[in-house]
């Protein structure tokens, strides 16, 4: 029996919850479909815990393959290398390791593109000028990359970032922060929250303030509620950038295919972050997913 271990972050906010959901769905489907494959999903609340989980998984049984979505790149590189050295096939999802030679298969969304595509749409829509406020998540690589992609894209335009603060990928904190932004800046043309959980709080705060100056409030990640807004043609949130948690499912399937099928797969797969618009929104809408 071949063992495929899946190590992912714990479901501590919307997007990671989506990851857990899709990983578990994949495990269930594959375990049912292939009796000689055992997919084991383990979640970890922090990088340290994830390193521990890796050790536990590889100490407890012989792993044929590992699918991992690392909390952080630096901290997980060495431990994943240790697993790899024991002869395990390694699939890395979303956040690349510092040493790319470790990963047999790399499947990722493009965080920089999330920021960049959102920025491009804003530049377009606002005619290249206006006042922006930005809400970022918690200080990690993902957050950093998205912000970087965004800021690089608006460089040279007359879009001005009035303020940028952390709101911990938490809708509550985002609600408060947005209220404060609204109190502080009399004219805000657009808001970007780099995650949809936060966008929910932002929208609530804007709605409550009754302010009319905000033309755009965009998020990212492809949360079903936001995709629904896009489908419904919401004026303030007409587009969405996907960063689909379903990528973990893709990765698991590909890994299993490599393991048992005659379908050797190696290399890098980069998921694009195309804008979700009213036209194509339906393909990104999963009403049953928790995210």
């Amino acid at each position: 029996k071949k063992v495929v271990a899946v190590s992912i972050p714990a479901a501590d906010h919307g997007w990671t919850a989506g990851i857990v959901y899709h990983a578990q769905a994949a495990a269930k489907e594959i375990n049912a479909a292939f009796p000689n494959v055992d997919v084991v999903v383990k979640t970890s609340p922090s990088a340290t815990a994830q390193v521990s989980a890796l050790e536990d998984l590889s100490a407890g049984r012989k792993l044929d393959a590992l699918v991992i979505l690392p909390h952080t790149s630096e901290e997980l590189t060495t431990p994943v290398k240790a697993v790899k050295d024991a002869g395990t096939f390694v699939t890395v999802v979303d956040r690349g390791l510092n040493d790319p030679s470790i990963q047999d298969l790399y499947l990722a969304g493009d965080n920089i593109a999330v920021g960049r595509n959102t920025a491009k749409y804003m530049i377009d829509k606002l005619g290249g000028k206006g006042n922006l406020v930005v809400l970022r998540g918690i200080p990690t690589v993902i957050d950093d990359e998205r912000i970087k992609g965004f800021q690089d894209a608006i460089k040279g335009t007359e879009l001005k970032v009035l303020d940028i603060q952390y709101a911990n990928w938490n809708s509550d904190d985002a609600f408060k922060l947005m209220q404060d932004y609204l109190a502080k800046y009399p004219q805000i043309d657009a808001v970007w929250a780099n995650d949809d959980d936060m966008l929910l709080g932002v929208l609530e705060a804007v709605k409550e303030s009754g302010r009319k100056d905000i033309k755009l409030a965009l998020g990212g990640n492809g949360m079903k509620d936001i995709v629904k807004k896009v489908i419904d043609g919401d004026a303030m949130t007409p587009v969405e950038t996907p960063y689909p948690p379903a990528m973990i499912k893709t990765a698991i399937y590909m890994t299993v295919a490599n393991l048992i099928g005659q379908a050797p797969i190696r290399g890098n797969v980069k998921l694009d972050a195309p804008l979700i618009t009213q036209e194509n929104a339906q393909e990104y809408y999963f009403p049953d997913s928790p995210f």
Binding site: A11, D12, H13, G14, T16, A17, G18, V20, Y21, R136, P139, D163, I164, Q165, Y166, N168, W169, N170, S171, D172, F175, K176, L177, Q179, D180, Y181, A183, K184, D197, L200, G201, E204, E208, S209, D225, S289, P290, F291
Partner: protein, 330 residues
């Protein structure tokens, strides 16, 4: 042997001392408002202040409950997770009732919330008192349990309230009476009832006695177990009230709801003048403490001095300075 005549004269110096602890947090509040105004005049605008105070209502309501627990010599780290759990249960219940009962589901859900809150608090209380486990550890354990439950209930995602209930329920957070938002009114009401309970009712005496000296309480025929358990149950009810106000704000429960509220709550209680080792509780000080915390956060955003990376640090510094001033102004 007659009583000395000067006995009946109230001693001014004592009364003064007493009021200082009481007044401290309010002075800090005023100082903060003035600093805020100096930094950014918008700070004192009606909308901003209303927003901030409304926001502080959750923490204030929960912290009022925590004042009972802490005053009786306990501690509750589970309040944040409990709030999330109650929010989740309430929303699920309302959603289930909505098709049959329509808007009536809202008051029914509120009753369920209070009931669940009381039960959760009772559970905490019993583990601490009957189980004789250090409150810190016991409620750290239940914190994990509540958090796990809400995560499980929501599959890690969100539990949104039914669209049909949303508008009916919205006013509970966003509505006003005479220009004063409901959450402010609710938290004032909670604090008022709590201060009657703590200062004017027998239970308050028992609470303070148990917190100040368990032995004396026991030898006075006061049940330490029931007094402290009731404090936890009150805490549970307060969390439920906060949850009820919270639901309409974002209309959903998520596994991140209420994360770290426990720390804010305890900080509010301590800033308010209640000692963590138990004894006399200061309800209004607690409320002031909650507002102070929210004001500091607001000030951080409204001012332009601080790098986004350093916000948490500056808040820490301000809280420490505020406590230092409070200590040494006496």
């Amino acid at each position: 042997m007659t009583v000395m005549t000067d006995m009946a004269v109230p001693r001014p110096q004592r009364d003064w001392n007493f009021s200082w602890t009481d007044v401290g947090p309010f002075l800090a509040l005023v100082a903060l408002l003035m600093i805020g105004f100096a930094i950014n005049p918008d700070f004192l605008s009606g909308t901003n202040l209303a927003n901030v105070i409304t926001r502080s209502a959750f923490i204030a309501i929960i912290a009022v409950g925590a004042t009972f627990v802490i005053s009786s010599g306990g501690l509750d780290l589970s309040v944040g997770s409990m709030a999330a759990f109650i929010t989740g249960i309430t929303i699920m219940f309302m959603n289930a009732m909505a098709p049959a009962w329509g808007a009536m589901a809202i008051p029914m859900g509120m009753a369920v919330a209070i009931g669940v809150g009381l039960l959760c608090g009772l559970m905490n209380g019993l583990i601490v008192t009957v189980g004789k486990i250090e409150p810190f550890i016991a409620t750290l354990g239940t914190m994990g349990i509540f958090r796990a439950l809400i995560t499980y209930m929501s599959d890690g995602g969100t539990i949104p309230i039914d669209r049909t209930l949303r508008d009916a329920y919205r006013p509970v957070y966003f509505g006003t009476v005479g220009g004063i938002p409901y959450p402010i009114l609710i938290s004032i009401a909670v604090a008022a009832v709590a201060s009657i309970a703590l200062y004017k009712m027998k239970y308050g005496r028992k609470c303070a006695a148990v917190g100040a000296n368990e032995d004396v309480a026991r030898y006075s025929g006061i049940s330490v177990i029931s007094t402290r358990t009731i404090a936890y149950a009150i805490q549970g009810a307060c969390v439920a009230i906060a949850a009820i106000c919270y639901v309409p704000r974002l209309g959903a429960a998520t596994p991140t709801t209420g994360v770290l509220w426990e720390l804010q709550v305890i900080t509010a209680v301590v800033i308010g003048g209640t000692a963590l080792r138990g004894g006399k509780g200061h309800i209004w000080g607690t409320v002031a403490g909650a507002v102070i915390l929210e004001l500091i956060a607001n000030l951080m955003v409204l001012s332009d001095f601080v790098s986004e990376y350093l916000v948490a640090g500056v808040q820490g510094v301000i809280i420490i300075i505020a406590m230092l001033i409070q200590r040494f102004s006496k």
